[in-house]
């Protein structure tokens, strides 16, 4: 019989065997996870490529934290370059009764210098180089949705009232689609300049866009090198792409790691089921050899059989992964308006290749070990060699399969970290699982029949049990972290904030407005109101030399106070009093970063004035108070010579206040709703974790496949045991109880490890990053235990129906 006919017969006859099915499911899960992540990242990559050269809307950009002086524009124009100006600022936008934090982008005539904007008037889309006319604004679909706004509505921006004339579908220098922080409002530059939103502290970003001949651009860069002012930096198109791609690269890596854990678990399932299948084929192989079939032909037939499985798995897994990547793209894009380019077929082919490698690495070696089955086995089984893997050759394809993460993540170091991290985590879980099984073994000594039988089953299959507990524990832990711990961390962090933590900031308050603004805000119900002066200064020297860390040099925000502000604790030195002069108090973090200590002298410049202050105290600042806090607090006399404005923070909570009335009375003020920002951050975290959940679902699925593979591998053993205790007089109920106990204990151990692991991770994150004590809720434990019980007991039950149906007479017919 030729290998094709033999492999076809094998597939037909063994196709429904549990081991082959599980082998296929393992391959399918791995393919699906790889396709989902591969295809999604491919689409994002192409979205970025599509915008290549347009990522800046220019050839070159100068970015700064202050408005770029006219001489830069003039020089560029003298070189024949086109110029445009862009100013971006985050602020609250009001439409009707709705308000929303938006990212306002004001553009001057000529924008965009490269690429086109796409607008929609609700019916027709148009593209071109266009800027909003004065008195009008364009908003993106997200802003439109958040504000429930329609074309023709009017929006209040600072002191301005703008008519919404178009929907902004696409803007070139917002690469990566709509994965931005806040919804977009695009206005005319002249409008923003008179909106009174651009005071110090407004944190506006200023850009000069340049486009033109290469030679002129080179000349400009050379000139800029000499004329550059503090805080200005040059951005090239390549850098812009790197920058915009960075966030998505991080997302891609995160998803890649998630997919990788699924692939690792799937590999374990593939290996287990292939070993089981190979063991079951030993008699057949010996028989075929006896009939004269050559080893080569048999191996060829088995390889073909595996190839059929891989082919079918790639088709099914590819389809599943395709659906999953579409889901991820939709979750991250928050709707169809930020469409990515359509998915291509090549990531499926790519994933298919990896699946082939995975099969070659983990399924082929056990099958190839059948080559060594001696023909004599047919006469005497004791002459058979030990089944399994021997020799080092099988390591080659395994190493090949392990190279998947390197290619998948595109980063050897990260891949090694992920593999190492997974190995450590899996090792910890395995060790804990093994210890837990040892404990149950001790308990079994004092247990009754069904318990003794059930726990004995766990002891008997301790190795398999550890693999199952580890695989399930990993999958479960990943999902619990994403679904429960993440939400609880965010909620508890919010709850850990002081009840009167500031939830609003007001910037741009002029010194002569301090009293009236304070009065008005208090009248509106503002609690914990703090008004602090703020000025800009340049840090130019530390102890007469340049600052040790040049990144800390340049423009800094400073304030001054005669008394220590709330939520500040002195950790070194003594805070200067109201009478102090020439002293400065630094926040601990800033002092450490800059590398200065008590007694050091800092030199600042503001305008033409240079002044010096000695570090006399270091403060620990509780940023969670959300008060206005400063890294640098000078002595009060600074207010006499530094041009400054005031910034306020206050707590409003549920109080209904007429903040629009405040901005109408003081049009130059910008009120920032911090609660809205926190909410938006929460939404973004939510979005990313929902996307990751899709991938981690594959991890859990892979864990489940490992569980089934291990159950399948021990099915004969369980049948034998079940038959034995039936022979000894156990009825069906007792056998069922024994199996239920075995699965339940395994589920409980996996759940215990997964819930404790995720609670511990949450606690560490909370303590290290957010500085509060995380208390896992009962939901985490209940959910962990219920999910584990359903998965393990359910699959155990489904996988062991045949065990329950095994007649006791089998015990007389087997030599086991």
């Amino acid at each position: 019989m030729n290998p094709f006919a033999l492999s076809a017969r094998l597939l037909l006859r063994q196709g429904r065997s549990g081991a082959l099915m599980i082998l296929a499911v393992g391959l399918i899960v791995a393919t699906a996870a790889l396709v989902a992540v591969g295809s999604f990242t491919d689409r994002v990559g192409r979205a970025l490529e599509r915008q290549a050269g347009e990522a800046l809307a220019a050839d070159l950009v100068i970015a700064a934290g202050e408005r770029i002086p006219a001489r830069f524009f003039e020089h560029a124009e003298s070189l024949g370059l086109e110029t445009a100006e862009v100013i971006s600022v985050s602020t609250a936008l009001f439409v009707g009764e709705e308000s929303q934090l938006v990212d306002v982008k004001a553009v001057s005539a000529g924008y965009p210098l490269r690429g086109q904007v796409t607008l929609s008037d609700g019916a027709v889309e148009r593209s071109g180089r266009e800027v909003p006319a004065r008195g009008t604004a364009w908003m993106d679909p997200r802003a439109q949705r958040a504000l429930d706004a329609a074309i023709g509505d009017s929006a209040e921006l600072g002191v301005l009232e703008l008519a919404i004339t178009d929907i902004l579908v696409f803007e070139p220098d917002r690469a990566g689609g709509g994965f931005g922080f806040a919804p977009r409002l695009m206005v005319n530059l002249e409008d923003l300049l008179v909106s009174e939103l651009l005071g110090p502290g407004a944190r506006a970003r200023y850009r000069l866009l340049l486009a033109g001949e290469e030679r002129a651009l080179r000349d400009f860069r050379q000139w800029f090198g000499q004329e550059r002012e503090d805080g200005q930096r040059l951005i090239t198109a390549a850098q812009a792409e790197d920058q915009t791609g960075l966030a998505l690269t991080q997302a891609r890596r995160f998803l890649g790691v998630a997919a990788l854990t699924a692939v690792i678990l799937a590999a374990v399932a593939i290996l287990l089921s292939a070993l089981r299948f190979a063991t079951a084929q030993r008699d057949l192989v010996a028989l075929l050899k006896t009939f004269g079939a050559s080893s080569g032909r048999i191996m060829a037939a088995l390889s073909l059989l595996l190839l059929y499985l891989v082919g079918a798995s790639i088709l099914i897994g590819g389809a599943l992964g395709w659906g999953a990547q579409e889901m991820i793209a939709r979750i991250l894009a928050e709707g169809p308006e930020t469409l990515l380019p359509p998915a291509h077929a090549w990531p499926v082919l790519n994933a298919g290749l990896f699946t082939l490698l995975l099969a070659a690495g983990f399924a082929l070696p056990p099958l190839m070990s059948l080559r060594r089955v001696p023909t004599m086995r047919i006469l005497n089984r004791s002459l058979d060699t030990r089944p399994g893997l021997s020799g080092l050759l099988w390591l080659l394809p395994v190493l090949g399969a392990l190279s998947i993460p390197v290619v998948q993540l595109g980063d050897v170091r990260l891949a090694l970290i992920v593999l190492g991290g997974s190995a450590v985590l899996a090792g910890l879980l395995a060790l804990s699982g093994w210890l837990a099984l040892l404990v149950t073994g001790r308990l079994a000594r004092n247990a009754k029949a069904a318990w003794r039988f059930g726990l004995a089953g766990l002891q008997r299959r301790r190795g398999g049990g550890v693999v199952q507990i580890t695989a399930l524990g990993l999958g479960l832990m990943a999902l619990l972290l994403l679904v429960v711990v993440r939400a609880e961390l965010l909620e508890q962090w919010r709850g850990s904030l002081p009840p009167d933590a500031a939830d609003h900031f007001v910037i741009n308050i002029q010194p002569d407005q301090v009293e009236s603004v304070g009065r008005r805000l208090r009248a509106e119900g503002a609690g914990n109101l703090q008004l602090r002066p703020m000025a800009n200064a340049n840090l130019v020297a530390v102890n007469d030399g340049p600052p040790p860390d040049h990144r800390m040099a340049g423009q800094v925000n400073v304030s001054w106070s005669g008394e220590l502000p709330p939520a500040n604790d002195i950790v070194a030195g003594a805070f200067h009093g109201p009478e102090g002069r020439g002293e400065v108090s630094l926040s601990l973090m800033w002092a450490e970063n800059l590398g200065v200590v008590l007694g050091d002298r800092l030199s600042f410049e503001s305008g033409a004035r240079r002044f010096e202050a000695e570090v006399t105290s270091i403060r620990e600042v509780d940023w969670n108070s959300f008060n206005v806090n400063f890294f640098i607090l000078l002595t009060p006399e600074a207010g006499e010579f530094l041009p400054h404005q005031y910034i306020a923070s206050f707590h409003l909570g549920e109080t209904v206040a007429d903040l629009r009335g405040v901005t109408r009375e003081f049009p130059n003020l910008s009120i920032i709703d911090v609660a809205a920002i926190i909410e938006r951050v929460g939404e973004i975290i939510d979005q990313v974790s929902r996307a990751a959940q899709v991938v981690f679902a594959f991890t859990l699925l892979a864990g489940l496949v490992v569980l089934l593979a291990a159950l399948e591998a021990t099915r004969d053993e369980r049948r034998q045991e079940s038959a034995l205790i039936r022979t000894l007089g156990a009825d069906n109920a007792m056998v069922r109880r024994g199996l239920l106990i075995e699965y339940s204990v395994m589920a409980m151990i996996a759940a215990l490890l997964a819930t404790l692991g995720s609670a511990l991770t949450g606690w560490l994150l909370a303590a290290e990053l957010f500085e509060f004590a995380y208390r896992p809720s009962p939901v985490l434990f209940i959910l962990g235990f219920v999910v584990a019980a359903i998965l393990v007991v359910g699959s155990g039950w489904a996988g062991n129906r045949s065990v329950l149906a095994t007649p006791p007479v089998r015990i007389l017919r087997t030599g086991g």
């Binding site: 073994g441 000894l728 009825d731 007649p807």
Partner: protein, 245 residues
């Protein structure tokens, strides 16, 4: 059937057949025999003759397709699988060719498991006593893998008789042991038979072992061989009359 030595096992015209692709396949035909309490019976026959199937039927592991079997005064045909299992707990002990101990349990735990399944009081003490009687007092906490074949079979024998069953079925009990060890195991089985008055049904190839039984039945092609070409009815009468073949 005498009152002092009542019948523990009786079967009449028992047959067993299975559906095969070529039609019905008769494995056992017209088997009738009787065994009184404390008696020993050897069933001998070639491979495939049906002796293991007969043992399964007699012990209630499977139901006959024809005829009736009484075990400890219960008619097995009328019991469902669970009821037969409960009957086995109290009345039946088993010894197998390949011992069938649970490898994850110690010798003591293996014996206790059977007692616990039977719901017996003080399983630990009973199991310890049984192991002492088979000479394994020093091996109670050992696992099967730490014991020789002979020792494992002695644990299996302790497990089989620790619940004081009325009848003990042994399927090739010395088949996996060397001659010397097999001899010792056989001695042990017959000692238990004498001391505990436990009826013993032995299935074996080994004629020397079979000859140590009070009676021997030979099975061939699914039928008990009638040395005097009697009909099964006649044979049954002979058996019921206490005659030994």
């Amino acid at each position: 059937m005498s009152a002092s030595n009542p019948s523990i096992l009786q079967c009449r015209n028992v047959g067993f057949s299975v559906q095969a692709p070529g039609g019905e396949l008769h494995i056992l035909n017209d088997i009738s025999l009787n065994l009184n309490a404390g008696e020993t019976l050897a069933i001998v026959g070639a491979s495939g003759s049906g002796k293991t199937t007969l043992l399964g039927l007699l012990a209630g592991l499977e139901q006959p397709t024809h005829g009736d079997i009484w075990l400890a005064n219960s008619r097995l045909n009328q019991l469902d699988e669970n009821e037969r299992a409960r009957l086995r707990r109290r009345q039946v002990g088993f010894v197998f060719q390949s011992f069938h101990l649970l490898p994850s349990l110690t010798a003591l735990e293996n014996v206790m498991l059977a007692l616990e399944i039977a719901g017996m009081e003080q399983p630990r003490q009973r199991a310890e006593q049984a192991l002492e009687q088979v000479g394994l007092a020093h091996r109670m906490q050992h696992y099967p893998r730490q014991m020789s074949g002979g020792e494992q079979q002695r644990v299996a024998i302790a497990r089989a008789f620790s619940g004081r069953p009325a009848i003990l079925f042994a399927d090739e009990p010395t088949g996996n042991l060397d001659r010397h060890t097999g001899q010792a195991i056989a001695d042990l089985l017959f000692r238990i038979n004498r001391e505990h008055h436990t009826a013993l049904v032995l299935v074996t190839h080994d004629l020397s072992l079979a000859r140590r039984c009070g009676r021997m039945e030979q099975i061939e092609d699914g039928r008990l061989l009638d040395h005097n070409t009697q009909t099964s009815e006649q044979r049954l009468k002979l058996v019921e009359g206490g005659q030994q073949s």
